[in-house]
């Protein structure tokens, strides 16, 4: 089971880098916003997985905060 978590984490990092292409290459600001939002969602999952791998449930609180910040960031970014 731990191996699966580790594998899942690596896959998430890989897909994050793929999404980073959209964030860097664009075109346009809105593609970048989606890319950043997607990377944020993946990061939440990555935090949860890290919490499970190291057996530290406190990572969950951090993941919740990160989810909240991701949401606020997107709403704020779309206002300007």
């Amino acid at each position: 089971m731990e191996d699966l978590f580790l594998l899942a984490g690596l896959l998430l990092i890989l897909t994050s880098f793929l999404s980073l292409y959209r964030a860097i290459h664009g075109p346009g600001i809105f593609n970048r916003i989606i890319a950043v939002n997607v990377i944020g969602t993946k990061t939440i999952l990555l935090l949860v997985l890290i919490g499970f791998i190291y057996g530290r449930p406190h990572f969950l609180d951090i993941a919740l905060v990160y989810a909240l910040l991701n949401f606020i960031m997107t709403i704020a970014a779309t206002k300007y």
């Binding site: 919740l64 905060v65 909240l68 606020i72 709403i75 206002k79």
Partner: protein, 147 residues
């Protein structure tokens, strides 16, 4: 600045209570979990920032007036330094919580936990929240206060 549309307003309206409970949870469990006063204060401020973004500055100012904000800013510092000074008064060092004699509680570790979670962290949290909201409103279009 225009108000956000119906979907965003409704979701934010229903989400804010839970965000605030979560922020207070982070503040009060600072000694035993992740985070603490600063992080919790930021979460509380985030809930207010969401409110202002959804309903506009005027409505936000009505909910959290400049006067309340100022009182909170100074009360937080007062709580924080007041507990620190209490420790000196009772013969410890500054912020040496174990030295404070509380009624009903005699265990030093317990006293420390109580004062950190219930006192110092709350002071920090209140201050951080108030200052964050102030900074946000100062930079927000149309949010500048007069003072």
């Amino acid at each position: 600045m225009k108000e956000e549309d119906v979907i965003i307003r409704t979701v934010i309206r229903l989400m804010i209570p839970f965000i605030q409970i979560f922020g207070l949870y982070v503040i009060f469990h600072g000694g035993s979990g992740p985070g603490g006063g600063f992080q919790g204060g930021v979460i509380l401020a985030a809930s207010m920032i969401l409110y202002v973004m959804a309903f506009g500055v005027t409505e936000g100012r009505r909910k959290l007036t400049e006067k309340t904000n100022m009182i909170m800013r100074s009360t937080g510092v007062l709580i924080f330094s007041g507990i620190g000074l209490l420790a000196i008064i009772f013969g410890g060092k500054y912020l040496d919580y174990g030295a404070v004699p509380l009624p009903f509680v005699h265990d030093v570790v317990k006293v420390r936990e109580l004062l950190i979670d219930g006192g110092v962290e709350v002071g920090i949290g209140i201050t951080v929240m108030a200052v964050m909201v102030t900074i946000f409103l100062e930079f927000y279009p149309g949010g500048t206060s007069d003072d």
